[in-house]
């Protein structure tokens, strides 16, 4: 009905390497792209900058973590720290008078450098131990941020970001900030969409599946691990800088603390490891959920005439956030991306299901 296909078949290598083998997918993406461009005219600016903008920026971050965890299979619990490196170096660079374009680049490269250090851990250990080391590195980074006033900006431990500007134009309007976030998210998405068509992406997948099997096939697994960490850290750094430049407007250590790392990982897992559409959905779910749960609970409490303390209401979103992760891993460990893929696979040949067999 939607796809009008009897399955995906290829007659040539060229069609096999197409980005969108199914025409409907391409049309859907073009439609979403247009929707994204038109969003400032369709959505009130409160929702645009309060919900859509952070969602797009976090999605870029989730895609970056997906590159290293979903594609290359390396656990990373220190992603927040890497974002912090990018954010702080970019903001410091911008305060120093460097134009924002270069400041973002400096942030990305600084993150890349620090992030590659994490890769050297991946040379020694993997799995659980890699997760623990990256977690410890996150704590070290938190400590450095909170204990060095030179970086974190004095006694208030907050660093005001200068007005964001691109190509000499100050960007202060809601729509302008939105387009910056949108543009970055689209860039990262295009990069990730193309990744699976390139040798790099296939090498990363090979390393994930079995690194010594990959080595036997001539894939230098350490090299690709470093590449994965560096690329993902670059994305993290620029994303962190944009997060400060367009959403928070000032940088503070707790914006990139360990719970942020866990949150991004939760977005990746709930979205689905290695799934691009899932990254969008996972980020949306985790970001929107606390507000929605709070609304529901205060509504129910009011309706039932229950007295709920402020403290109770303050902690319920956290409990629901944890429960969401637990339930998702129990019901669908492969995440929202897998749910979407199930629906898509079903509709692909519907109503001629027999063709699939």
């Amino acid at each position: 009905m939607f796809y009008r296909l009897s399955g995906v078949h290829h007659n040539s290598y060229k069609s096999d390497t197409k980005m969108f083998p199914v025409r409907t997918d391409r049309n859907a993406i073009i439609f979403l792209l247009l929707l994204g461009i038109a969003a400032p005219f369709l959505i009130p600016s409160l929702y645009l900058n309060g919900y859509i903008l952070p969602w797009l920026i976090w999605t870029a971050a989730v895609l970056g973590l997906n590159l290293v965890t979903g594609w290359a299979g390396q656990l990373h619990l220190g992603y927040g720290a890497i974002m912090a490196v990018g954010a702080y170096s970019a903001v410091h660079a911008a305060r120093f008078g460097i134009p924002w374009e270069f400041a973002l680049l400096i942030g990305g490269l600084a993150s890349s450098l620090i992030g590659s250090l994490f890769a050297f851990t991946a040379l020694r250990v993997k799995g659980l131990y890699l997760a623990l080391t990256t977690l410890a590195m996150q704590f070290v980074m938190d400590w450095v941020l909170t204990h060095s006033p030179a970086i974190s900006g004095g006694s208030h431990a907050s660093l005001q970001a200068p007005t964001f500007a691109l190509l000499g134009q100050d960007i202060t309007s809601d729509a302008g900030l939105y387009y910056v976030a949108f543009g970055w998210c689209v860039l990262v998405t295009i990069f990730m969409l193309n990744l699976k068509r390139t040798g790099l992406g296939r090498a990363l997948v090979a390393v994930r599946e079995k690194d010594f099997a990959a080595a036997i096939l001539g894939v230098n697994s350490f090299y690709y691990k470093v590449i994965a960490f560096a690329a993902s850290s670059f994305i993290a750094g620029v994303t962190g800088a944009l997060l400060v430049a367009t959403f928070y407007f000032l940088a503070a250590p707790e914006q990139f603390a360990v719970n942020v790392s866990i949150q991004v990982l939760a977005m990746v897992i709930i979205g689905g490891l290695g799934s691009i559409i899932g990254s969008y959905m996972g980020a949306a779910l985790i970001l929107l959920m606390p507000g929605v749960v709070n609304q529901i609970f205060s509504g129910v409490a009011e309706f039932m005439g229950l007295e709920m303390g402020v403290e109770t209401l303050a902690h319920i979103p956290n409990a629901a956030y944890g429960a969401l992760i637990v339930i998702f891993l129990m019901v669908e460990p492969l995440g929202l991306g897998k749910l979407y893929a199930n629906v898509r696979d079903y509709l692909m040949v519907w109503p001629f299901d027999q063709l699939k067999k």
Binding site: T69, L75, T121, L123, R124, V125, K126, G127, L128, Y129, A131, L132, T133, L135, A136, M137, F139, V140, W143, T146, H147, D211, F212, I262, L265, A266, I269, L273, G309, E311, T312, H315, I316, P317, N318, A319, A320, Y321, G322, A323, L324, I325, V326, L329, M330, P333
Partner: protein, 295 residues
């Protein structure tokens, strides 16, 4: 240098370290049987303390009823967590198992605080706050009690691993499939280890709740417990005790010297550094089993 003072730092560090060992023992019990790194151990500790608090303060029951009751409840909480959440994930990639325990951590913390609130309360175990003098050294009584509890749990678990049930658990930790094929209930064993770890969490929660008050910060013990467990070897209970003492001393003596240089708060830095160095130099820890695996 004042040698008495250094000795005091060392002994107090060792005692605090043994309290960290309590957290680590809980982690080790679960890791040993099912290779699951339980990042929710901190939240379990906190929940255990709050359950004791609920009985002793909200209901006004004496502690000698409240603590055993909390032990029983937490035992079943642990078994329940394993049954509902972790069993489905057996054989899944480690990232999902880690995420599951982190999700449990967030969920347990949120639920506990939503029910009982986050303001810090004390347990009033009845241990005097007067310092305890050994020669010229000042020691804290509650730390001595806690260290004794840690040693007692260590001895109990060593004895337990010699019983029939304990041997089953050791078999499970050696080889899943072989245990299955000789008729050992692997699921039962893993569930039991979760129950035992939750009991240890109650003991940890009570001791630490007395040391620093019952509040959210109890769940932050996870990082120290994790460091101790990794340093000692994730599947060695003896390692947890020895590493606890080592880490406690390093933290106490090291932070005394480092704080003067970096201006305070170097304890967490030392813990993180020990964790990173252990994993880089000797991932299987001091006493852990060394599974040879290519990286």
């Amino acid at each position: 240098m004042d040698w008495i003072f250094l000795a005091e730092l060392t002994v107090n560090g060792a005692l605090t370290g043994l309290l960290y060992s309590l957290v680590a023992i809980g982690l080790v019990l679960i890791y040993k049987s099912s290779a699951v790194p339980n990042l929710a151990q901190g939240a379990l500790t906190m929940l255990g303390a709050y359950v004791v608090l609920a009985f002793s303060h909200n209901l006004g029951w004496p502690l000698w009823i409240a603590i055993p009751l909390a032990v029983v409840i937490m035992f079943f909480v642990g078994i329940g967590i394993e049954r509902v959440a972790l069993r489905r994930l057996a054989g899944r990639p480690i990232v999902m198992i880690l995420m599951m325990t982190m999700g449990l951590d967030i969920f347990l913390r949120g639920t506990t605080l939503a029910i009982w609130g986050g303001s810090s309360r004390s347990l009033n175990l009845g241990v005097s706050y007067d310092p305890f003098f050994v020669g010229d050294m000042l020691l804290s009584r509650i730390h001595i009690v806690g260290a004794a509890v840690a040693i007692a749990i260590f001895i109990a678990s060593v004895l337990f691993f010699r019983t029939r049930m304990g041997i089953r658990l050791r078999a499970i930790s050696d080889d899943y499939l072989a245990s299955w094929s000789v008729g050992i209930s692997v699921e039962g064993g893993v569930a039991l280890s979760w129950g035992l770890a939750s009991i240890v969490a109650v003991a940890t929660g009570v001791i630490w709740g007395e040391v620093q008050g019952v509040d959210q910060s109890l769940s932050l013990l996870l990082l120290k417990g994790l460091t101790v467990a990794v340093l000692g070897g994730l599947d060695s209970i003896l390692g947890a005790i020895v590493a606890g003492i080592i880490l406690g001393i390093m933290e106490s003596v090291g932070s005394f010297y480092l704080d003067a240089i970096v201006g305070g708060g170097s304890r967490d830095l030392i813990v993180a550094a020990v964790l990173i160095l252990t994993v880089m130099i000797r991932p299987h820890g001091l006493f852990g089993r060394h599974d040879i695996e290519r990286i």
